[in-house]
Subunit: 328 residues, 4 copies
Amino acid sequence: MNTFGHIFRVSIFGESHGKSVGVVIDGCPSGIPVTVEDFMKDLLRRRSGRKGTTPRSESDVPEILSGIYNGFTTGYPITIASWNKDTDSVSYEKFKTVPRPGHADFTATFKYSGFADLRGGGHFSGRLTWGLVAAGVLAKKILRNSNISAQIVEAGGSKDIEKAVELAASEGDSIGGLIECCVTNPPKGLGEPFFYPVEAAISQILFSIPAVKGVEFGSGFAAAKMRGSEHNDPFIDSDGKTLTNNAGGINGGVTNGNDIVLRIAIKPTSSISREQKTFNFETETMDTLKVEGRHDTCIALRIPVIVEASVAIALADLLLIDRGINPR
Amino acid sequence: MNTFGHIFRVSIFGESHGKSVGVVIDGCPSGIPVTVEDFMKDLLRRRSGRKGTTPRSESDVPEILSGIYNGFTTGYPITIASWNKDTDSVSYEKFKTVPRPGHADFTATFKYSGFADLRGGGHFSGRLTWGLVAAGVLAKKILRNSNISAQIVEAGGSKDIEKAVELAASEGDSIGGLIECCVTNPPKGLGEPFFYPVEAAISQILFSIPAVKGVEFGSGFAAAKMRGSEHNDPFIDSDGKTLTNNAGGINGGVTNGNDIVLRIAIKPTSSISREQKTFNFETETMDTLKVEGRHDTCIALRIPVIVEASVAIALADLLLIDRGINPR
Amino acid sequence: MNTFGHIFRVSIFGESHGKSVGVVIDGCPSGIPVTVEDFMKDLLRRRSGRKGTTPRSESDVPEILSGIYNGFTTGYPITIASWNKDTDSVSYEKFKTVPRPGHADFTATFKYSGFADLRGGGHFSGRLTWGLVAAGVLAKKILRNSNISAQIVEAGGSKDIEKAVELAASEGDSIGGLIECCVTNPPKGLGEPFFYPVEAAISQILFSIPAVKGVEFGSGFAAAKMRGSEHNDPFIDSDGKTLTNNAGGINGGVTNGNDIVLRIAIKPTSSISREQKTFNFETETMDTLKVEGRHDTCIALRIPVIVEASVAIALADLLLIDRGINPR
Amino acid sequence: MNTFGHIFRVSIFGESHGKSVGVVIDGCPSGIPVTVEDFMKDLLRRRSGRKGTTPRSESDVPEILSGIYNGFTTGYPITIASWNKDTDSVSYEKFKTVPRPGHADFTATFKYSGFADLRGGGHFSGRLTWGLVAAGVLAKKILRNSNISAQIVEAGGSKDIEKAVELAASEGDSIGGLIECCVTNPPKGLGEPFFYPVEAAISQILFSIPAVKGVEFGSGFAAAKMRGSEHNDPFIDSDGKTLTNNAGGINGGVTNGNDIVLRIAIKPTSSISREQKTFNFETETMDTLKVEGRHDTCIALRIPVIVEASVAIALADLLLIDRGINPR
């Protein structure tokens, strides 16, 4: 189930401390100009974030294994990989019996009967989002008339993001964050009810990103407290523009041409420097555990570009589907 | 794209004022005992809700067209339909040029080049969730050791739900609501990273339900304001039980055996008795519009059983996938 | 797995002696004019065939349950059903222990642990192809510039088809047949390598038809005996026309604009009037069995229109995919 | 559409003269022991074939990029790549205007608007089957109680395969061939009617292999000439064994436990040393063309191991689906 999409199809592979992480993109139109630099721009945004993101130097340079020739997409499946380097050799085997709270150690060990590679989180690592960002670069090119932009708007409940991150870091702790994404000038008519409306497509891919705990569109959770008379967005021009945008640009699961607006809740990084309690499944007693190494204090800082990529991928797939079925 | 799921596959069809709405369920194991009464129980919950739901008498009786024989599922595709009755003949054609705010009139007309049947919302109507609930009855039987239960916990921001609904109704308005769902004793190990983790599967189907504006798991949006030291759930026994449950029963996209907990934001019903402003696409001027007929004041009241069905369908699909790949 | 296609998606349901057989067609463009009579034309061809086909009067009249409004497709899923009538009540239960040779009695009973409805072949019956033919009517309308035509070219190895059928019938036996299908003026550029080339798409659907034993394209099995110098088709004009057509209109899995040509081998009807040997799984001894009722002597006679429908469905799906990815 | 399968999912990528060809295998159970040597055995069979296959030294050594750890499958997606080497730099650009007969030059150029990489056939090359064979190694391990074996049984219509190949080679020509595949002791109950019966699954993947022109199961095309009384296979024991096997081990699209038997027709290699006629799309006149380099005289010699892999992949997918739905 490592593939997202019906026509513009994105498959993710790799592990945090294995040989590589990468992505295969199928159904990408031919003739799109693309360079390694195009990828680097977003991949570096993913890496650096701002203060509070990991100082680790991951190998982010993409190697194009297939599908791009003479600077253009060929129409064939596009494979892009990144080679993992400098992965520390700290043993992760112990986490099979003493699982880290908040991580997938316990569930991965159970699900794969002990054969899962847990190093650095294995296939469950945030490192896997590298491939999402790479695929997002192509998706954005397909949606070239739209602008997709996401940013962190809160960290640990505070709008002074830098300060909040510094404070948490100084206490050996981590904090969550809130991300907002807006798509301006989206294509009209995208979304396939019933089961692939815009919100379903976008949320499926967003909830695949580790650490995402909630997704809302337009008015979102605030809608639950509202009246219909204030929530309904009156149309105001022949283009379909609405006075307000509680709908977040989507009516009946289909884009209406207004800005698509969504917010994503990110949990605090699970790895913290402090000692934590957990269960030792070997001794069958409570135990303590300290996660070594450097960690992102606020993983949410790195996630905006991943959100942009995810939204772009979902919209690109919906665009190709709509274009196939509904020639207008 | 009217199908959800990879193995336990649910396809929805129909229109609000057409001949029927229904569902085809493929990949359902054989030998499950099921009667029309089994379906009626949940279908009636969907219909009646509580005060504030529509007094309209929809035809909810399911007719089993295929896949069930002598009281048991056969292993063949199961088709269940409901015949629409007493649909009022008010003209919906005008909504193609004077679209109702909050409804899919504008987007459906654009997407399908004017050929969409808009009567009662057509294929975009909440009426379509009838098929979801019917499929959910079978999904719940597949997950027979788990209990899935959802309820409305707030309407219009108030916990006194009945009063809030009455007040809004008396003012010719509508209100949104908040629904909480909990799965106790879920199977462990369900969820397929990357792209079909539990949250992605569940949110894909939930965001297909009309009126859903947000979905969150465990700590949800509150996680964005939390510290890692408080958010991480310590394991406390050999079964994988955790002290807290901020994870909502899911680590790395895979169920850990603790309760799955989620909340869903429902917008206020779009149809209200009050006059509303909208754009007239024929005259190209602003216009006013009044939506005739009786409407649910708070559609959220009817949605808990739909949420239960959706969660059950997603988990049933994940269970069959996991059982196929990982024989334990 | 009861769905074929990625965009133009066809789902089949029903059983031979259950309440109905039918089809759901998703991803069909809106605005296609269609009437019940349009369906009847091909459905009657399927029923009557010629001499040698069953005199049984199946209920073939289609009831449109969704997706068509005011004589046009709406863009919503289209559901079409046929109600089974006059199904004889002969017991099929015995076939669970004394399975008919050539039928699915044994495999269906094993696969579904005894819960399969075997009456008239259940979901394995040729009756299910009713839905294929109905979907094919819409697929042909999508491919309106092409002509798809299939006919039986041999029965029991003889080109004098009527005589061969009569002879076999007079001996209480059945015979197989060979069907040829040709698509003139097909769209160029259809087919998605690797895994959804034209041949793969068409053969997947053709081999779903009961009784199909072989499928070949262009030169087919004769190619195995040929030389490259005679097999290669020289291009001869700027449209891509070729001098010969050993490729059957397909190069590298993609249509080249020349006629698509294929042949399908149909086995003799499994039900024959003669007494047959089989194993009695209850007594665990060899047994004899006589299949009562009237049967098609040569089921191949009814299959051409099913082949046309299948080819049309596969090409329609490929067309919508290609149109979505490759705007030319 | 570069993915085959629903649960055991195989995605192919790469081009003949690009950087690599490879495969991603998703849904593979964890805990399967596998080494590079396991892959090499079948990959070398694919490369060498026998006399008449290309003397080119392709780089066949697999590099495992993900999904295998400490000698076992982890349950994560498995990525295996091969690096292309020594690809000659002969210009293929001219084939965009002077397409080689029998090749995909014309269709690929049209479909991808001139952006397709045609070098060595690009993504349409037989080289891509490298990934199929690699995936087949894992599929065979999943089906460990069955034996899958394919061989060439005719070349150019002759059973003296070596002589036929030599003769054709001496004349600068190529020949086709016939391959037979047999699966002994297959799991019973595999196959999902309607649309994913065993024959549909296997033929979909087989017809994705370049050069395949026909596929038949059991009696195959001979069935078209047979009588029902001779074609029906009587059951003879409590295991479901049949006296004859015209069904090729499949009833109603579902395996009955008898040997699965199929035959595949392979066309003569399209590249031949002789001069050929074709159309020059630039000058718009007939032209001649000679394909340089060394070519397989009889590509069918290399295909048996690819057929085995394809059949194994299809059956592995069907096994995991059946295991998920039907716990017996």
